[in-house]
Symmetry: C2
């Protein structure tokens, strides 16, 4: 099997981020622009349907706008021949549930076409080209009933089309890797919290908004009981997972190339107590309880805790507790201090 | 959600078997032609790339010849609007490994196109059409390391493209079922043994040939140590699994619609002892040990034992032991007596 170009190359590393205009994609891109990747300088190529403004103090990446499911985009990627490809482009859970065709087209067909284009590039290179391929999967691949902690050999039983599509993506990445066409890994991200920006309609949105809004002096709605337990990691941890996945030796993975990432398991009441310690009673008082049976029913089907032993053994790290997650939000999004 | 036509219809049940020309497909078709399905008479529609002669004493089915991955075949199926669809059509393990593109095209793309055509038919019917869809999956979805017995919540970690494609098929059948477009179930068949017919080049072929050939007075080669343990069921049991899957209420499955089927876990030496009890020392003497490291390496990655609790609770049944598997072969393939 040919060695990965990413492992043997010297000098500049060519890095593509599909979904590079999104929240995690932008954080990842800026981190790599500032720090390189795995101790090497990197040239950055971002793909998405659109991009926010790029910071003027960082070297500008290529920004390519297009529909990731269009054949021309897979051809662009294969012709670019990156050493490392991050695949973050996805139709998210709620939209994939509402627009069944779009979810399958973007989350499955686009990935399949990209992998086929990379296989063709691998073969055209006589087997020398074999990019590191980091696929952002999700704990949405799991469904209840759950054990107390989800272990590394627990089945995928998705409750949404998004989860099914991510599980299918993992199987494709694994098989194309087993055949040696790519050197792939799928990382199952926890719910990313505290998500910066405005409140959105995602069923999981409240996990972030009950922290973000009170810190910003605004009211937030809590639609579920305090006892709800869930699995979290910060945006900074997500960037760490992705860069670590891009640079470690994957031989130890064998043919199980989908990994549960570490995270913080905590209840809503533990989230609120952490907020109280960090920001005081006034912040907590801005959380308004407004039970929503529809959201509660969805959240019932979500994972609550994991024992991510393989990922920990490979050096993946998340936060120690939810208080650290809040402090990272204050550092990374609020300039290190609570407003007001 | 609309009730399944298969559950509410009276009179003739319309049954399609995709892959109806293969070994299991023919046994299933003849069983249904002779016995109906679930206590109802059935009209049979078989699809495959070719067919063996149909027995003259049974009502002749429709036999449609074509490439299951061609769009016209999915359209034919949706226009036919069967009450029950058995999907057995597949490129087998060895061929899917050698011809990567063909495996994905037939084992994944064809199924996806069929499910999309059935979804369109469901929607065109205002939600009334929702066929029972029985997908033949395989224990090839699993990969080592294994627990002593594989339980119902063990992960899919396929070691072959065939296994990956079957696992993807299961996820598609589950998600299309969750959305109510079909009423699907995926059953993971054990290795089918004793397979009738000539020896073939499949790595698993010896499990059948060390029984079949000696019973026919011919020599058979055993390429692995006596201690190899594997998971078997007879062709008759496979037909039973399929018809049971087509007729039971699937509500109890919830969203976990892929089921490990029951089987017989035994070692090669237990197979040979069973042969000795049924056919005597002369038959056993026709087994020639000829170790093959390549086959041994493949077989090392195969499941050895299961605890198929959900399937047993739903009434799926296999043989009690390997001796019963041999006696069924003698009854069904050799006219009830050992030749010679």
């Amino acid at each position: 099997m040919a060695a990965s170009v990413a492992e043997t190359g010297t000098g500049m590393k060519k890095v593509a981020i599909l979904g590079g205009g999104g929240m995690i994609g932008q954080k990842l891109a800026r981190h790599i622009a500032a720090n390189g990747l795995g101790g090497q300088e990197a040239t950055l190529h971002l793909h998405d349907i659109g991009f926010p403004p790029w910071p003027t103090d960082l070297p500008a990446p290529e920004e390519r706008t297009g529909d990731i499911a269009a054949p021309a985009e897979a051809e662009w990627l294969a012709a670019l021949a990156p050493d490392v490809i991050f695949h973050l482009a996805a139709v998210v859970s709620g939209e994939a549930e509402q627009d069944f065709e779009k979810g399958w087209r973007v989350n499955v067909d686009a990935l399949r076409r990209i992998l086929e284009a990379l296989r063709a590039a691998h073969e055209a290179s006589g087997g020398r080209y074999r990019p590191r391929f980091v696929f952002a999967s999700s704990i949405a691949v799991f469904g209840p009933p759950f054990p107390e902690k989800i272990g590394d050999d627990f089945l995928c039983a998705p409750q949404t089309s998004y989860g099914a599509q991510k599980a299918i993506g993992e199987l494709m990445v694994s098989d194309f890797s087993r055949k040696g066409f790519i050197d792939g890994i799928a990382i199952r991200l926890p719910t990313i919290c505290v998500r910066p920006g405005k409140p959105n309609k995602a069923a999981s949105g409240f996990f972030s908004s009950i922290i973000r809004e009170p810190l910003a002096g605004q009211e937030a709605v809590l639609p579920v009981p305090d006892t709800v337990r869930h699995w979290h990691a910060s945006p900074r941890a997500a960037v760490g997972f992705l860069t670590h996945a891009a640079t470690i030796d994957l031989a130890a993975l064998g043919s199980r190339r989908a990994l549960n990432m570490p995270g913080v398991s905590c209840t809503v009441v533990e989230q609120i107590e952490a907020l109280r310690r960090v920001a005081g009673e006034a912040a907590v008082a801005r959380i308004r309880r407004e039970p929503d049976p529809a959201i509660m029913a969805i959240v019932e089907g979500w994972p609550r805790d994991f024992a991510p032993e393989r990922a920990l053994a490979l050096g993946f790290r998340a936060e120690r507790d939810f208080e650290e997650i809040i402090r990272i939000h204050i550092e990374d999004e609020l300039g290190g201090a609570i407003p007001g």
